[in-house]
Amino acid sequence: MLNIDDLKVSLEEEEKQIIKGLSLSIKPGEVHAIMGPNGSGKSTLSSVLAGKDGYIIDSGTVNFDGSDLLEAEVEERAALGIFMAFQYPIEIPGVGNMNFLRTALNSQRKTRGQEELNAADFLKLVRGIAKDLEISDEMMKRPVNVGASGGEKKRNEILQMCLLEPRFVILDETDSGLDVDAMKLVSKGVNNFSSSSRSFLVITHYQRLLNYIVPDFVHIMVDGRIVKTGDKTLALHVEETGYKDFLQLGKGKH
């Protein structure tokens, strides 16, 4: 599904290389976790996959279902089925959640050459998802993420995911700012959504989320590279000893 080959990425503003040769292959149905200390380039990776401005691709390729992902516009990537749950979901004052969701869904459908969903079907669909995630009607009426708590914002991200039905989901530090109950709810949403044709890239600093969203592979990222790959037990190892064992690996690989 997703093949990243020897990717090198710099910041546009300061010509500083952040990702220094990263390769990763994700097949349909797989859940991959990327863990790493602050500044290791995890969030840059998710931004680059989603297509955010401000980065220069120095070399390498990213292939998504046979097409060159790096050539596609942000909204085209979304229509291809790439979804990123934001670490800090953005507030959009004055724009109602419903309006936002329907605009997004129908924009994607349009890009894919599908018919737009009518109002009645849309409302039914959204209400069903919102109910599962315990999101109140009152919250659905609010402007996008405005005045929402950290937990509400993250649930809102999962709601967007369920509605847009992407095939490849990046969860960027989704656990940050969540208490245990909220984390369980969010994880339940993700697990219900997972299927043999969908893949996840879970970016996290801590192991605890991986108790709920269980990865097939865990990659440790240090200084712009994946320095170690293992199964879920690798995350437990990190939990016990921290990243210090891996820091040297990052430096020694030149």
């Binding site: 989603a50 297509g51 955010k52 401005d53 516009e73 942000v74 909204e75 990537r77 979304a78 229509a79 979804f83 990123m84 934001f86 979901p89 953005i90 507030e91 959009i92 004052p93 004055g94 724009v95 109602g96 419903m98 309006n99 936002f100 329907r102 605009t103 997004a104 869904l105 129908n106 924009s107 994607q108 349009k110 890009t111 737009e116 109002a119 009645a120 849309f122 409302l123 009607d137 009426k141 402007p143 967007q160 847009l164």
Partner: protein, 506 residues
């Protein structure tokens, strides 16, 4: 209520999605090929007389015009606004143009040139009495509540070409007709109120208008009548090199209510055109007027060539106790906008509200705002202004809040937000607050922000294209004002917001 909200939200979305289908940047930029009869070029006493004669006006009206013309000759064009106004040669304009086959006013819509009707139908205006605002209803089958009637008076160049629903309005006692007709049919009302809110020599442009106005709309709502439908005027400049000077007079007698909508378009031309209108509102005891404008005159091209110079004087006189006025404007067009719809709050407990969206893109300039003059006791005013600037445009909010010495316990609240798109445009806020009564309270809040890169990225990651994302964010920014508009105008306005900002990103 819940469902209404959701449906409305969903309809908002429908509107956005139809934006793309609307076509070119300025959708009203066509011109209609109709033979036009012009008055000779330039302005002098003979032209004023000619205009008066063309309208078969009584002598008192001509005298009024001539008085205005003589005052105007002594006035200077104001230069205090934050606008770069190219020199206007007032002798190089036509002051009167009308479709040639309209020498005799049509008696019914059947007599109107079909090409005119075609023009209005292109503009989406329902001119025949059977039609509702059909476009809106067809586009949004979910929305059944909006099947209401809107009476329309259409002004083409200088002439009113037809007013709909006349009979139905008449049975309610409402007078809605062109002002030229009112001068003949209802001289007492016109004499009593014309110029009583905006005196003939109020300012340079209002004075010019008083001398040469050729038509416009007249509304009288009698005592105790709630106007049974919304009233609407559509203004269109079609003829080349012509100024349009329409004059609107609305009187809401005791305990009456009316909601009035005004829309404007003009074809795309290289030459700039002058528009200097005057709107006077008179609101008596316990009466209320809502006046909404969607101004979409041709803004000129991206290099600032052509476009309408829009110099408008609008004022509401809340004479009566508990009288109320609400101005809502969406200003997206015109190369230059100079406009300050004002409220004179004379009656005790009277209130004035001003909601404004002003969008400038490319080389457009707008200097717009309001004046709230508090004279009566316990008067209230509220100002919500949203200025959006893109391209190389300059957008100024200019507002006066004046609370007089006798105006006990009066209140003003002003909120003034500016949004910038790109880094070559400008937003300016110029509030004037004069309080002469210690029991008064005036509050002013102002913000300036930019369309946020993170917001755009967030929308686009969800699959929304960049221009749609900008339109969505800007419509969100304007929400409070859009909500103040009647439903069908709100939709039109949302489309306009999106269209006027096309090409402003990327």
């Amino acid at each position: 209520m819940t469902d209404n909200y959701e449906v409305r939200d969903v309809i908002d979305k429908e509107t956005l999605s139809t934006v793309k289908s609307v076509g070119d940047t300025y959708k009203y930029g066509f011109s209609t090929d109709i033979e036009t009869e012009y008055a000779p070029l330039g302005l002098n006493e003979d032209i004023v007389k000619l205009i008066s004669k063309k309208n078969n006006e009584p002598k008192w009206m001509l005298d009024w015009r001539l008085k205005a013309f003589n005052r105007w000759k002594k006035l200077k064009q104001p230069d205090w606004a934050l606008l770069k106004i190219p020199e206007i040669d007032f002798q190089d304009q036509y002051y009167y143009a009308r479709p040639a086959n309209m020498k005799e006013k049509p008696k019914s819509l059947d007599e109107v040139d079909p090409k005119l009707l075609e023009t209005y139908s292109k503009l989406g205006i329902p001119l025949t009495e059977q039609k509702k605002l059909a476009g809106v209803i067809e586009e949004n089958p979910e929305d059944k509540s909006e099947n209401r009637k809107v009476a329309v008076d259409a002004v083409f160049d200088s002439v009113s070409v037809g007013t709909t629903f006349k009979e139905e309005l008449k049975s309610a006692g409402v007078i809605f007709c062109s002002i030229s007709e009112a001068i003949k049919e209802y001289p007492d009302l016109v004499k009593k109120y014309l110029g009583s809110v905006v005196p003939i020599s109020d300012n340079f442009f209002a004075c010019l208008n008083a001398a040469v106005f050729s038509d416009g709309s007249f509304v009288y709502i009698p005592k105790g009548v709630r106007c049974p439908m919304e009233l609407s005027t559509y203004f269109r400049i079609n003829a080349e090199n012509t100024g349009q000077f329409e004059r609107t007079l609305i009187i809401a007698d005791d305990n009456s209510y009316v909601s009035y909508l005004e829309g404007c378009t003009a074809p795309q031309r290289d030459e700039s055109q002058l528009h200097a209108a005057v709107v006077e509102l008179v609101i008596l005891d316990e009466a209320e007027i809502k006046y909404s404008t969607v101004q979409n005159w041709f803004p000129g091209d991206e290099n600032g060539v052509g476009g309408i110079y829009n110099f408008v004087t609008k004022r509401a006189d809340c004479r009566g106790r508990n009288s109320k006025v609400m101005w809502t404007q969406v200003e997206t067009g015109s190369a230059i906008t100079w406009k300050y719809p004002s409220c004179v709050l004379k009656g005790d407990n009277s209130s004035g509200e001003f909601y404004s969206i002003a969008i400038t893109n490319n080389m457009q300039q707008a200097d717009t705002g309001t004046k709230m003059i508090h004279l009566g006791k316990n008067t209230n005013s509220r100002i919500v202004s949203k200025g959006i600037s893109a391209g190389k445009a300059q957008n100024t909010y200019r507002g006066l809040v004046q609370i007089g010495g006798r105006s006990q316990n009066s209140r003003n609240f002003t909120q003034c937000d500016s949004l910038l798109i790109g880094n070559k445009c400008g937003a300016h806020t110029v509030p004037y607050i004069e309080v002469n009564n210690s029991s008064a309270r005036a509050e002013h809040e102002a913000t300036t922000s930019k369309v946020d890169e993170d917001q755009l990225f967030y929308c686009m990651q969800r699959g929304i294209g960049e221009e749609d994302a900008v339109a969505l964010i800007v419509n969100g920014f304007c929400k409070e004002v859009l909500q103040a508009l009647p439903m069908e105008f709100a939709m039109e306005a949302q489309k306009l917001v999106a269209i006027s900002l096309e090409g402003s990103v990327g």
